[in-house]
Amino acid sequence: MPRASLAGVTQIEFGALLDAIPEAVIVADHTSEIVYANTAVEGLLGWSPSELVGSSLHSIQPDRMHDAHDRGFRRYVSTGTKTLFDGPIHLPARRRDGTERDVELSLAEVADADGTPLVVGVLRGATEQVDLERHIAILRYLKATTAAHTRLWTKVDPSVVLQTLTDVLVDDFDAALARTWIHDPETNTLRLQTSGGITTRIKGSTREVIDIATSPAKVAVVAREREPFIRVGLGGNPAFDQEFVARERIVSVIALPLVAGDQLLGAMVGFFRHAIPDEVAETIGHLAALAAATINDARLVAQEREAREEADRARGHFELLARVSERLVSSLSAEVSAQSLVDTVVPDFADWCIVDLVTDGPSLRAIASRHADPRVADHIAELRATYPPAEDEEPPHPIHRAISEGETVWESVEDGDLAARARDPRHLELLRAVGIGSHVVVPLVGRGAVMGAISFVRSASRPPFETDDVATAEDITRRAALAIDNAQLYRSAEQAVALRDRFLAVASHELRTPLSVVRGHWELLGRRLAAEGSDPDTQRQQLEASVRRLGQGIDQLQRLVEDLLDADRLRGQAVDLKPTELDMTMVVRETIEDLHDPAMRDRVRTILPDEPVDGVWDRARLAQVIGNLIGNALKYSPDDGNVEVEVTTREDVVRIRVTDSGIGIAAEQLDAIFEPFTRAPNAAAQHYPGLGLGLAVSREIVMTMGGRMWAESPGEGRGSTFTIELPRRPAAAAEAERAAP
């Protein structure tokens, strides 16, 4: 940050100026002594300005940070090293009452009238509120992105594509300046194509043509290395024109290469007056990828004139892509996007297309499917319900192969292959009825992770997929991945905003019932103590009953509060585990014995191995998870239905399944019920009490133990099964054992 001079500003004006700023401002001299604090400091940290002036900066720092502060400050004073002056940093501050809170700190150096240097720190509270605002901003950007997708995908001329990209950055993403370059492969240079936003001179990058191999400009670097460059806080960075950065108050920059396949097509740069959240940077990355793909498509169309036959195919590919793209961007719901996709590719491109997403458990979730022959739909439904693709099939199922290897599976399928895969005669019958001659299964990859796969299937009666078709299938899938990924980002941002509302509604409702019991009995107690002339024996019995009820109500309140605290503790933090050698069958038996109500105990059946199932787990946490599942199973099984708890082992994995015959779970709720404060609509609508926390907490615990947990249900009213899979011992312990001689 440049050193500003305040010479000429009087002490009083300076103070009035700083008091007018909503952020907390603290000024210290070179001995770390606080010489000034504005009034906003009191709101943030609880210290009044007069208390702070004259004391050391240590007063507002937790003890553990004093040494680091002293070292850094000494280095700054003696050598002028300003490591922390380069943009806001996050750190804990100590409040007057001794508690800590996270703050965002920006530093600057100023000089007083005598020219003595002073350090100014501006502090902002970093709270969840900021997070919410960030999520709301992300929602807005994602909505803009959806509109931008349509605008980008419908262009065929590269210069129009790049102009659109520039406009979107300036209009929808509030870029101060956006520029694009196009790559000339002959000379390996970048040619300036578009510029939007402020029209201003920037030193070093006003040249129309930039040599990629030698130029130090950031666009040349990102084009050379094919790596994006994102930076928040540009002050002092010699790669950027500091005069421009200061004048235009530029805070962040994003520079991206425009690449399709392994071909460099150009580059773009956006300068912003605000910090870009990671999610928004990602979205801009998506748009740049999209622009590159569109330019690439446009080039395919251009080559059309040279080779007609080749071009016909390319046009078919391009037209199909354009149609798919248009449909994909019309919605921010993954399900709706996927359904439009399969409706577009069937029957022209494939006879059957199905989109599967991976879930938290081993099963896949089909979010869209379409077959050219509507009569086959029932067969497909039966195939998926009775013979779902399994992870451990032999030979491996093509969908799981594509997902686990992250690569396209492309093959012709003979009747013998179907026979090898069929688990029984009915299975083979169904596979034949669906008619599989060749298939291309492409993994859906979003943000580096495989989200699922799209299977394109042609029947044996038509020519199998060829190399060109595989490229088309991969292009379609890449676009679908962008749309689904955006939809999921949108959903999670929306959920973060909704979480707080749900918490307030659920917590207040669930707390009011036990509170009514406690309050009512307390009042009753008072009334009966005051009642005159009642029989002493009766009065004593009544009082005892009230005291007992009060105890139960307080227990219930305490459990609710502990659940809430547990959920809060677990959010974003690792569970503290105390693993010991245990027998899982004993833990299950004891958890059932601990159930309060003997009638409940009688409803639980167990299927346990005869041998002990030994392993290393945290007993209390394990009992909490199993108890939660059994409790839920009993609670959601009206009419005293039975609950079955089964423990099985496979190699080093122990599986606990809790099955009930209760109200069941709709397919689309199977993942959602694990979100905190989220309850399945059929559970909430029938007024089963609950905070919607048990499953969220349980899953967090199971994941910390290195395991996984998921729900299955044939549908509403048809019971549910919850499964926990746990390794017998933590990964670290298992490794140590293997390493031991």
């Binding site: 019932t513 509170l515 009512g520 009995h521 009042e523 007024h687």
Partner: protein, 116 residues
């Protein structure tokens, strides 16, 4: 006679106790279905104290059924709810918010059923 329709036994117990202490006769039903059965069998309370959130048939549905049957439409109803938002579209004599004040319940009971 006062009818309490509430699924939480501990709440039923506390309301029943205070009303019986005041000399009222009290019956209870665990949900809307059971309450409607009792009313159709001919019991005629001077007041029904109805929880809104119950399994099988909730308070809103019970009230709709009662209003639709001329014999039951005039029975005074006081609803009890932990519901935080506004409770609209409910044609009732009183709304009691959880956590409630027993004196408030006694007062409503006295209003409709005389003091014991």
């Amino acid at each position: 006679m006062i009818l309490i329709v509430e699924d939480e036994p501990a709440i039923v117990e506390v309301i029943r106790s205070v009303l019986e202490d005041e000399g009222h006769v009290v019956q209870s039903a665990p949900d809307g279905v059971a309450a409607l059965d009792m009313l159709r069998d001919g019991i005629r309370p001077c007041l029904a104290i109805v929880d809104l959130m119950m399994p099988r048939m909730d308070g809103w549905q019970l009230r709709e059924h009662m209003l639709a049957e001329p014999d039951l439409a005039d029975i005074p109803v006081a609803v009890v709810s932990a519901f935080v938002g506004e409770i609209s579209d409910l044609d009732v004599s009183a709304i009691i918010r959880k956590p409630f004040d027993l004196a408030e319940i006694v007062e409503i009971a006295d209003q409709h059923c005389g003091s014991g």
